[in-house]
């Protein structure tokens, strides 16, 4: 064993990362090499001094209280919960309305007749009632929404083609706009992009690409997606167009 190899092993030995055979070999080298033995003594003293520095670290008085007060604020009766549902409902309604409008325009600008004004949910309800008994409800909804429109001269229920709405990010990516809450104290020392990056690192989401004011994130399952959306909702205003569980990439534009 030469000294360079011995030095490498010195560190592993100090950190208890060597097996018995490697330790034996190192001991044999140290018995013959004063230079390496001296290094070992130096590194041991370094460790002892670092221990002493750490031993003198004193937690500021009141830190625990401060942390627990912040925790209490986190878990205070969730006005946020109600607010979040309201926001979700508003977003869902906006998406639905957008879908209806784009659908109308997309089908050549033909405005629906009296039935069309009732919009998709009403149409589906009507069609479900008329669907064959053996067809599962979900399939009935889908086939009815697609198939029966022409019979009535109504096309408002046609879903908007995704490409029309999301041309910027492509068909496999959803898009969100996030306005960071300036009062959201917990991320006051981060940019929006780095806050999301950290969140993704801690929660197993993949950051595909970032820019100065945007970040593209991918998740593997619905839990990851929901966690990300919760985080964004809790720390700012989120406008999000959900295009369903099949799409697992979100581009977040930060304002």
């Amino acid at each position: 064993m030469d000294c360079s190899e011995a030095e490498e092993r010195l560190h592993l030995w100090l950190d208890d990362e060597l097996d018995e055979k490697e330790r034996r070999e190192l001991r044999a080298h140290l018995a013959e090499c004063g230079e390496c033995a001296r290094k070992l003594a130096e590194y041991k003293q370094l460790g002892a001094l670092l221990d002493q520095i750490d031993a003198r670290t004193v937690v500021p008085a009141g830190l625990h209280r401060r942390i627990m007060e912040a925790v209490d604020r986190e878990s205070a009766p969730a006005k946020g919960g109600a607010r979040r549902w309201t926001r979700w409902a508003a977003s869902a309604a906006a998406v639905l309305l957008l879908g209806v409008c784009v659908g109308v325009l997309w089908r050549g600008g033909v405005w629906p007749g009296p039935m069309g004004k009732s919009a998709a949910p009403y149409e589906m309800e009507q069609d479900q009632a008329a669907a064959p008994m053996e067809a599962p409800a979900a399939e009935a909804e889908a086939s009815d929404a697609m198939g029966k429109a022409d019979d009535r001269g109504v096309n408002a229920e046609e879903p908007a083609p995704p490409e029309e709405n999301f041309a910027i990010t492509g068909e496999n990516t959803m898009e969100a706009t996030w306005t960071v809450d300036p009062q959201g104290g917990d991320h006051r020392y981060q940019s929006g992009v780095s806050a999301i990056e950290s969140f993704c690192a801690e929660n197993g989401l993949t950051v595909l690409e970032t820019g100065d004011t945007w970040i593209m994130v991918q998740w593997e399952n619905g839990d990851g997606k929901q966690a990300l959306l919760d985080f964004l909702e809790e720390n700012g205003e989120l406008v999000f167009e959900d295009r369903g569980p099949d799409i697992q990439t979100l581009r977040i534009n930060i304002q």
Binding site: D15, I53, T57, E74, Q190, E202, E234
Partner: protein, 201 residues
């Protein structure tokens, strides 16, 4: 320093209680780890004030994220992962070099609620005080990653694998960081005229 509510709890039981939102257990879990997290943030940022803010931030992030923790690592490793990310975010934002040079003395400054290293040392340990002061200065000259591995290994006693998990680095990189950091600190001490190698009392 485990206290009544978490004393004797296995890791799995502790996690279960934390995920169930048991505030008493969370409070004592904070007590157990706050010194370690604060010390890590303090050494990494060089600022008491930032370390306090970051420690609070770390536990709030943990509180928010605990229900998503899936035992991919030890709870404490996960906590240090959060701390590391929070510190790195912070350092990126404030430009670490500036922080370290401007606030280098803050660590020693008495006057706030409690300050590190203000206890008077016995006469016979004055020489060690000199060594400690020199080493503290040398720590500040390490690169961010070298400083992080040094603290995690020497002060928090994490294994190489745990450090790799915390910093999201390959194991081999952690090994070489630890080796380089120690070499740098040894050379720095020699450069300051307080070479290592003598017994520490």
């Amino acid at each position: 320093m485990k206290t009544a509510a978490v004393e004797g709890l296995s890791e799995a039981m502790l996690l279960e209680r934390l995920q169930a939102g048991d505030k008493d257990v969370f409070s004592e879990w904070v007590l157990t780890h706050q010194r370690g997290i604060y010390g890590y943030c303090l050494r990494l940022t060089g600022s008491q004030e930032d370390a306090e803010d970051l420690t609070q931030e770390v536990f709030i992030r943990a509180y928010r994220g605990i229900h998503r923790f899936r035992q991919q690592s030890q709870l404490s490793t996960w906590l240090y992962q959060i701390a590391h990310n929070a510190c790195v975010d912070h350092l990126r934002r404030v430009k670490k070099a500036k922080v370290l040079s401007i606030q280098a003395h803050e660590e020693e400054r008495p006057g706030r609620e409690m300050v590190t290293d203000t206890q008077p040392l016995p006469e016979q340990r004055a020489v060690h005080r000199e060594n400690i002061d020199a080493l503290r200065e040398c720590l500040k000259t390490l690169s961010r990653n070298h400083r992080a591995v040094t603290i995690l290994r020497h002060m928090r006693h994490l294994s190489y694998q745990e450090i790799a998990d915390v910093m999201k680095l390959p194991l081999g990189t952690v090994k070489s960081h630890i080796c380089r950091a120690r070499q740098h600190l040894r050379d720095c001490m020699t450069g300051k005229g307080v070479p290592l190698g003598k017994e520490v009392g």
